[in-house]
């Protein structure tokens, strides 16, 4: 009797591949946005610095930072290129790693292996037929019947070989994926921890506080230049009324008000949004991969489980059907051989 031992797969394998695909997508989108936050910080700080310079006649332009003063109020490199590059490299590394996992998950090697195994099986069936013909030519039978055709075996064997090879290489694919996930799990989580804190600091100290101080400097100048505390609106048709009208329409005052309005508008988004959710999204997606790393390798078991439990019902049903068909063929062939022996 022909028996097979074929690898059975746990039910979560398709979800492993889809979770890896989702992780790759989330990392690609989120990590790029985080990169922009880092790479944009120097332009932002420069914009704030130059705005503040306008209202402070005692401030000399500072070209770069020095060791004694790490204030971002400089023209060049509020954040050093090395600091920014290190963060960008870590993010790029994370993107490449998730793409590497995705390449394994998306590989069609199991399908290719299945198709090749089926072709090999059919080819071997044809080879066996040739051998059988050669064998028959070396002996004689009374009725000249060909006693054995391998074709009745080769097609079901080919189908089973295809399924088995697909599942075997599929198991290898998933084991490889799990090994890579396990290798990278701790460092990927450490990256998220570091990014979360680092980004929180960047957002608060480089973006938000800088923005608020800049806006305050604009407001402070406006108050100093244009606000008169004890001012009262003059009566119409008085000389002071004409001065009042001129004041309302004063271009430089209007320009400054517009500038303050625009600053408040652009800075307000800093207070209503933050890049931290991007890290949370990546972390949540990565957490879904942890259970696969914890599971270890996929279990191996035989097709026919004596306890009657089926892990891969589809493979089990197909295999049973095929083995049954092959056994029928075998019985017929055996009967035919027996008849030939009786005739002899």
């Amino acid at each position: 009797m022909v028996t097979f031992s074929v690898l059975m797969l746990s039910g979560c394998d398709e979800s492993l591949i889809s979770d890896v695909k989702e992780f790759d997508k989330v990392v690609s989108d989120s990590a790029l946005s985080v990169k922009k936050t880092y790479s944009g910080v120097n332009d932002f700080c420069r914009q704030c610095y130059v705005t503040k310079l306008r209202f402070n006649p005692s401030a000399r332009i500072k070209h770069r930072k020095d060791d004694a003063d790490n204030s971002p109020d400089v023209l060049m490199f509020a954040y050093s290129p090395e600091d920014i590059r290190a963060r960008e490299l870590a993010l790029e590394g994370l993107i490449e790693y998730s793409a590497g996992l995705m390449a394994i998950a998306g590989s069609d090697s199991p399908k290719q292996a299945g198709e090749l195994a089926a072709q090999i099986s059919e080819r071997l069936g044809s080879t066996a037929d040739s051998l059988s013909r050669l064998n028959e030519m070396s002996k004689s039978t009374k009725d000249g019947q060909t006693t054995f055709k391998f074709e009745s075996y080769s097609k079901p064997i080919a189908t089973l070989a295809k399924l088995a090879a697909e599942k075997w290489v599929g198991k290898k694919q998933k084991d490889n994926l799990k090994e890579c996930i396990t290798s990278g799990y701790a460092d990927t989580e450490a990256t998220f921890d570091l990014l979360e804190e680092d980004l929180k600091n960047l957002w608060k100290f480089a973006y938000k506080q800088n923005a608020e101080l800049t806006l305050l400097a604009q407001e402070n100048y406006y108050n100093y230049r244009y606000v008169r505390k004890d001012w009262k609106r003059p009566a119409i048709d008085t000389p002071d009324y004409e001065k009042y009208v001129a004041f309302v329409g004063d271009k430089s005052r209007l320009d400054l008000l517009n500038e303050i309005r625009d600053s408040a508008k652009s800075f307000s988004t800093l207070f209503t949004s933050s890049p931290e959710p991007l890290i949370s999204r990546m972390r949540e997606s990565h957490q879904r991969l942890k259970k696969y790393a914890d599971e270890g390798k996929i279990r191996e078991t035989g097709i026919i489980d004596p306890n009657g439990k089926a892990d891969d019902q589809d493979l089990r049903d197909k295999s049973k059907g095929m083995i049954s068909a092959m056994l029928d063929s075998y019985r017929q062939i055996k009967m035919s051989l027996y008849k030939n022996e009786e005739v002899k």
């Binding site: 790490n70 590497g100 080819r123 071997l124 080879t127 040739s130 090994e179 290798s183 450490a190 570091l194």
Partner: protein, 125 residues
């Protein structure tokens, strides 16, 4: 696993962080008062105080940032190794398929040879 507090001990890192956050709270309070006050003189003074506090906050933040910079570099190197591992695992799968292709080629050649032999033999019988 990559060390997160490169160049600074964890205790020092935490103390610097605490100090920075404390000064940052004072800064936020000064800015809040400066925004709310009607008195020009008071606003000037509060803004000036806020700018000085900002310098101190930024100095402490720079130490924390520099410490994290090395950790980010180390993580980027680690990711290179992890990505290489994924490439090797993918190559392993591809080699499995290539091996099967070789087996198919051999099986095809064998089948062709036997076909010819059977043809010759049938003419002889």
């Amino acid at each position: 696993m990559v060390e997160l507090y490169a160049g600074v001990s964890k205790d020092d890192y935490d103390k610097i962080k605490e100090c920075r956050d404390c000064l940052s709270d004072l800064l936020e309070k000064s800015m809040g008062k400066a925004a709310a006050t009607d008195d020009q003189g008071e606003q000037d003074e509060l803004l000036h105080k806020a700018e000085r506090l900002k310098v101190e906050v930024d100095n402490l933040n720079a130490i924390i940032r520099n410490s994290n910079t090395k950790a980010f570099y180390d993580l980027s190197v680690r990711f290179q190794a992890l990505t290489q591992e994924t490439r090797e695992k993918l190559d392993e799968l591809k080699r499995t398929v290539e091996n099967l292709k070789t087996v198919l080629e051999l099986a095809t050649a064998l089948d062709a040879a036997l076909e010819i032999a059977a043809g010759i033999a049938s003419k002889m019988t």
